[in-house]
């Protein structure tokens, strides 16, 4: 059995004000897997993703990426972060850079790659997400869906091994979610390891290999998509699905 790309063991996260965002979460994600996490607000989906990225420190337990423990105090965290790509709900594009510059910044500065190689890769990625004509545009000139696609391309420019998506379409108008979800479906089809926190049930059903239901900081239920949606074996999950579907 190959090393899981992501390994979470008994991870708990407690904030200073006493709120327990994660409660002994355990999870393994293997290469090529697409795992979707659903759950009510405050269930810990975002916190889980942020912990996997090193944006939040764990209070207990261990997170490993490619078998290497994620220790936020060490300098090597930056190299590890380069292997984990993250797409945020609020896009977080750099407004003072053009789209192309947004993509080129990290590969040049973190990986030290030459401008020529980085630019070629950036242009290819922009073509892949369907935004070749926006190469020199500023983020403020793009629609929400376009910005999120740029954000996905930006994360992919670092050639990560796993992509984390924190409710990528929640801030978009309904008619714009399609263009982003299409890009994500294509990524999944290409074999990218993905962990997606989302409310888009239709998307999850089609794309996921595994579904997770989180509540109160724990993984309350885990199943394959078809069983998860059509024959939920967990009461709370049943109630949740009734509310959202």
């Amino acid at each position: 059995m190959t090393e899981p790309v992501i390994s979470v063991r008994a991870v708990s996260k407690r904030y200073a004000n006493g709120v327990e965002a994660l409660n002994k979460v355990a999870l393994e994600i293997h290469a090529g897997e697409v795992v979707c996490v659903v759950g009510p607000s405050g269930s810990g989906k975002s916190t889980l993703l942020r912990v996997l990225n090193g944006l939040e420190e764990v209070s207990a337990g261990e997170v490993r990426v490619d078998g290497i423990p994620l220790d936020t105090h060490k300098r090597s965290i930056n190299r590890l972060r380069a292997r984990v790509g993250m797409v945020f709900q609020q896009f977080n594009l750099f407004p003072h850079f053009s789209v192309l510059e947004n993509l080129m910044l990290a590969p040049q500065r973190v990986l030290g790659e030459s401008a020529g190689i980085v630019q070629a890769r950036a242009l290819a990625l922009l073509e892949k997400v369907g935004l070749s004509d926006k190469v020199n545009a500023r983020p403020s000139q793009l629609s929400g869906g376009q910005q999120q696609r740029v954000a996905i391309a930006r994360a992919l420019a670092m050639q990560p091994e796993v992509m984390l998506f924190d409710e990528p379409t929640s801030a978009l108008d309904p008619e714009k979610t399609g263009e982003v979800l299409d890009v994500m479906k294509q990524l999944a089809a290409e074999g990218m390891t993905m962990l997606v926190a989302t409310h888009e049930m239709g998307f999850a059903r089609v794309v996921a290999h595994r579904m997770l239901f989180m509540e109160h900081g724990r993984i309350a239920h885990e199943d394959a998509p078809v069983a998860f949606f059509d024959a939920p074996r967990n009461e709370r999950l049943k109630q949740f699905l009734n509310q959202v579907l």
Partner: protein, 311 residues
């Protein structure tokens, strides 16, 4: 129609204020002598060439060049940049005697003072920006030493009057480091303004959305790299209008260096008052000259803020 009414009200209020000032001056029997002021702004007397040492004057035949030969030495100097020779061939002159005059316009004491104020303010601003950037970054640093040092600097400077700081710089630090009055003045203003610049920059950094830093870190950028490429450029852009406002304050604060042996615009004003005994006219003129400096900057700030609001 209504707008012109209110413009008229504005003009009327100004006229009333002007009239009130005039009436008040009548009360104290003040004689207005505005005609004496212009010569202190621009003098038509021209430049005087004075003898650098004692010596004999040799005037060339065409009267266009004048040579001074040192009396008890071998130095000599030739002057050609003048219009009227005021000493004759063979004259014995002493140090500082007027040899010749160059006619033309020359800056009067007030204009010279204005220039000194501008010099001090510009130099102090440049130093303050550097100091403030470092301190501002220190304020948000994760490093406890940097953070505590920066906070102490900001709190101490912002909590004490500028005048007191100038005295400390002039009498204590200036003496210890043997600084000229000019250097001490620039240093005091730079340190003072730097503390305010630090807070402006800190506010600018904190105004950048957290998501920016998070996105940068998620891509693998280190904290320093994220600051340098993502956060600081945005923070500095946000800081421009308040920074410009701070430079306007700096120009006004610079008038306090007049307590040292520095002839800035305010000190020049005091000197002209003692020459003319016309304090009202002189001080209004000095105020107008400060307004000239700050007014220009104000217009620039307003245009800058408008442009940034559109982005």
């Amino acid at each position: 129609m209504n707008r012109w009414l209110w413009h008229g009200v504005y003009a009327a209020v100004l006229l009333v204020v002007g009239w009130a000032i005039y009436k008040a001056s009548e009360r104290v029997d003040y004689t207005w002598r505005w005609q004496r002021i212009p010569q202190y702004i621009v003098s038509t007397e021209g430049d005087e060439i004075r003898a650098p040492y004692d010596g004999f004057v040799a005037l060339a035949g065409d009267g266009k060049s004048l040579t001074l030969n040192e009396l008890n030495g071998s130095r000599s100097e030739t002057f050609t940049q003048f219009d009227t020779a005021l000493s004759g061939d063979g004259d014995l002159v002493f140090q500082n005697d007027v040899l010749a005059r160059k006619s033309g316009l020359r800056a009067g004491p007030l204009t010279v003072g204005l220039w000194v104020t501008l010099e001090i303010s510009a130099l102090a601003l440049m130093l303050a920006l550097i100091l403030g950037l470092i301190a501002g970054l220190g304020r948000v640093s994760h490093n406890p030493a940097a953070r505590h040092l920066a906070t102490t600097y900001v709190e101490v400077i912002r909590g004490t009057p500028l005048l007191v700081q100038i005295f400390i710089f002039y009498f204590f630090i200036g003496t210890v480091l043997q600084l000229s009055a000019f250097a001490a003045g620039v240093a005091a203003l730079a340190v003072f303004t730097g503390a305010y610049v630090a807070e402006i920059i800190r506010a600018g950094i904190e105004a950048v959305p957290r998501g920016q830093m998070e996105a940068a870190r998620s891509l693998g950028l280190g904290r320093a790299q994220a600051m340098r490429f993502v956060v600081l450029p945005q923070a500095l852009k946000k800081s421009l209008p308040p920074l410009a406002g701070q430079s306007i304050s700096l120009i006004k604060d610079s008038s306090l260096v007049s307590v040292m042996a520095l002839t800035d615009l305010t000190k020049a004003g005091r000197e002209v008052v003692s020459s003319t005994f016309s304090p009202f006219e002189v001080w209004f003129t000095v105020a107008a000259m400060y307004l000239l400096l700050t007014g220009g900057l104000s217009i620039f700030v307003r245009r800058l803020e408008k442009r940034m609001a559109h982005e």
